[in-house]
Symmetry: C2
């Protein structure tokens, strides 16, 4: 059986994919993959997601240059979540220009931003 067939794609043919920095262990982001995105990720050795908002393949870093070089792919016990170990080129995973998407922390019943913007998004996406 093909390794892709072992994955339990949801009703929309997608699974969540978590990207973790292979060096620091930081969780950079979570996005979605369909079968083609995961196959392309392996083929290109770079993260390719499925954009639910744009309904098309999302070659991460295509515009920004902030590609994610793949070092490992894992699957969980239920075969419905993917975990990628990646090297984040440019050190920016988030479209807001921050290192990672998880830049808000809960404190005293409020969300607080505790990560700085490394690069202005207007400079990233020209």
């Amino acid at each position: 059986m093909d390794w892709l067939d072992e994955i339990k794609w949801n009703g929309d043919g997608l699974v969540p994919a978590i990207a973790q920095d292979a060096i620091t262990g930081e969780i950079l982001m979570m996005a979605w993959m369909n079968r083609e995105a995961l196959a392309l990720t392996r083929e290109h050795n770079r993260a390719v997601y499925w954009s639910r908002s744009r309904q098309k393949l999302w070659f991460k870093g295509e515009e920004s240059g902030h590609v994610q070089e793949l070092s490992e792919v894992r699957i969980d016990c239920d075969a419905d979540v993917i975990l990628l170990q990646v090297e984040q080129i440019g050190g920016i995973a988030c479209h807001t220009g921050r290192r990672r998407c998880f830049f808000r922390v809960l404190n005293g019943g409020k969300w607080h931003i505790d990560e700085e913007i490394i690069k202005n998004p207007q400079e990233i996406y020209q």
Copy 2:
């Protein structure tokens, strides 16, 4: 506005929640939360998920004792993914008796198990 109102719950009222070991940085598991689960997680300072298969609140570790003590809650840029930093009591997050749910790695076009079973599930769930 309530901090819970800022979260973009999906059509089923759920968001994915990633549990990361606060000390080692390992990704232990990903599960789902609804509004009540997240509110209870904060209240109890322990991870509470929503079980999609059983359609009820899942007080993680209720049966096994493998609770996840909460140290931090984050949300991503789109406000639709939660990241928890936890202390995994018992050192076992997965129902298979392994440290983490991501015990299969892709290698040569096949999934390989590379984490040992720490405790037999029959001994965990008696």
